[in-house]
Amino acid sequence: MESAHYTIDGEVLRVGLRGAWVLQGQQVYESPAAVLKERSGVERVAFDASALQQWDSRLVLFVLEVFQAARGKQIDTRGLPRQLLEWIALTEAGERFQAKTGPVNFFAHVGERAGDLWLSLAGYFRFLGEVVMALVNSVRGRAHWHWDDVLHFVQNTGIEALPIVSLISFLVGLILAFVGLVQLSQFGASLFVANLVGLAMVREMGAMMTGVIMAGRTGAAFAAAIGSMNVSEETDAFKVMAISPVEFLVIPRLLGLFLMMPLLCLYADFVGILGGIFVAVTLKGLSLVEYLNQTRGAIALNDIFTGLIKGTTFGFIIGFLGCYTGLRCERNSAAVGSSTTKAVVYSITALIVADAIFAVLFNALKV
């Protein structure tokens, strides 16, 4: 049965409401706009609720649809339940609070985006400035941060990362050795796999792989932790107490990472070389002593230093971007997720760009 029954009575359209008009039910009806369009000559619209059994705001929606369709005609609401009319009156009372928002102009939109880009670049430099100022304040002994926190992050970013760094570095060393051995054994130069693995780990892969792990593990954690503090206005609570969130939240994280990155890199180099030994000595039967001697001859001290400089820079990049995206996080729960993603993606991109710059630089300096 239809929930709305239309009858024409001279120039009056009578809308008969039937059965239950409730949100949890199903209503079948012809659209009032279509009915009115079909039958010209209607001047008045009236309602008949005598067969109406039950209603809630579902009916309000329909009645307003009728009002909309019958604009310019006379509407007789006497047949409607009194409470329904009160309901509608309440929503009209609400119109008083009305506010205005205009449509967005295309050029304004383009301009805004360009402005945003500039602002975001300016934002990085400003944040860099804040970090430097916080460090200057620390040297002067005026900053709000604690060594306890730094130690916490040393533990958190360094010691707790050892298992994953071990696993990845070992596998990277192992892969390098496999790939190298296949080629080198063709020339009978299998022992040079020690040079390949050693140099690649120390100069490139140790720092790079540690950086990538740290970006995913630590940078993301920084962004999420600071971002959610931002959402719950905890960073504002620092500001109103005249404590800089940069000092209290960022400096300990940066310092912790700064202290641990070189150590993790050295460790990764070492484990990577172990991976190489595993393949060359236990699987391919090279002599352990010869392999070690070959490795020692291949790696110079400045190779190790270049790796450490890279690792330390990577650590700074990861900490910086993690904290920055966290602090700039918008005030809603989805923003925490997107700022975490940003922290990881930006960090890894920045690592690779930085690595390329280092490659050119070290080549020019001949180290």
Partner: protein, 251 residues
């Protein structure tokens, strides 16, 4: 004044004991809420008002006793019945608890989309109406982070009313609002009850609200961990137990 309790009342609570783990917060609570009335839950901070509320909205299971919601023994009902009971209740949380990644319109339209067969356009139209009901025309596309505390409460109310609930629950609706805004919210609650016949349960210790709109009230006491009295606020202020009178007549 004697109250005749009836399991078919909007809410009927029988020898309810509540707590967290082994600590009992309130014991042997019994009261009932008449359909269409405005019911106040009051008591000092930490006496268990929010805890009681959690038991009435299906968030927390009693240690002992029963809660009848619209005649259904909620904690002994099967899941389908529980869900249908919950769908006829609306809750306004203390902070509004609006979903921060959705606009106000999306916040209100979400329950409509999930629980009715209305089209997307109808859901939005109805959500717009509910927002108009609480005076938020023009803020449909605003995000919760960008509106004031009073507006968040009103938007939360619109969302609570999305499915035309039979019972509306409020946890400290006037907390953090200025007297005028909180007065307006009281008026709104009263209007909604008068025109829609909704049963309203309010947790509050705002004296002006208690006397302005409260028709029936209970007082919870943290010392004895019991319900001290149930009566209308005026009766309680005149002839309630000593500690309740002290609470209601502090100026």
């Amino acid at each position: 004044m004697t109250l005749i309790n009836d399991r078919t009342d909007a809410i009927y609570v029988e020898s309810l004991t509540m707590g967290y783990g082994d600590t009992v917060v309130l014991k042997d609570v019994a009261f009932s809420v008449k359909r269409g009335s405005i019911f106040i839950v009051m008591g000092g901070s930490g006496c268990g008002k929010s805890t009681l509320l959690k038991h009435l909205i299906g968030l927390k299971e009693p240690l002992a006793g029963s809660v009848f919601l619209s005649g259904v023994d909620y904690w002994n009902a099967d899941e389908a019945t529980q869900l249908s009971v919950l769908r006829k209740q609306g809750v306004l949380f203390q902070g509004g608890a609006l979903w921060s990644t959705l606009t106000l319109l999306e916040n209100v339209a979400l329950p409509l989309k999930e629980f009715t067969t209305l089209s997307q356009a109808d859901c939005n139209a109805l959500a717009r109406l509910k927002l108009a009901l609480v005076g938020l025309v023009g803020f449909e596309d605003a995000y919760p982070a960008n509106i004031s505390g009073g507006m968040k409460k009103r938007a939360g109310l619109a969302r609570a009313m999305a499915l035309d609930p039979d019972i509306l629950f409020f946890d400290e609706p006037s907390a953090g609002l200025d007297p005028v805004t909180s007065r307006n919210l009281d008026d709104l609650i009263l209007k909604i009850r008068d025109s829609l016949g909704t049963t309203v349960v309010i947790v509050t210790h705002e004296l002006s609200s208690i006397f302005n709109i409260g028709e029936d009230a209970i007082f919870l006491d943290s010392q004895t961990k019991t319900l001290l009295a149930q009566a209308s606020p005026k009766t309680l202020a005149q002839s309630g137990p000593q500690s309740v009178r002290a609470f209601l007549t502090r100026i």
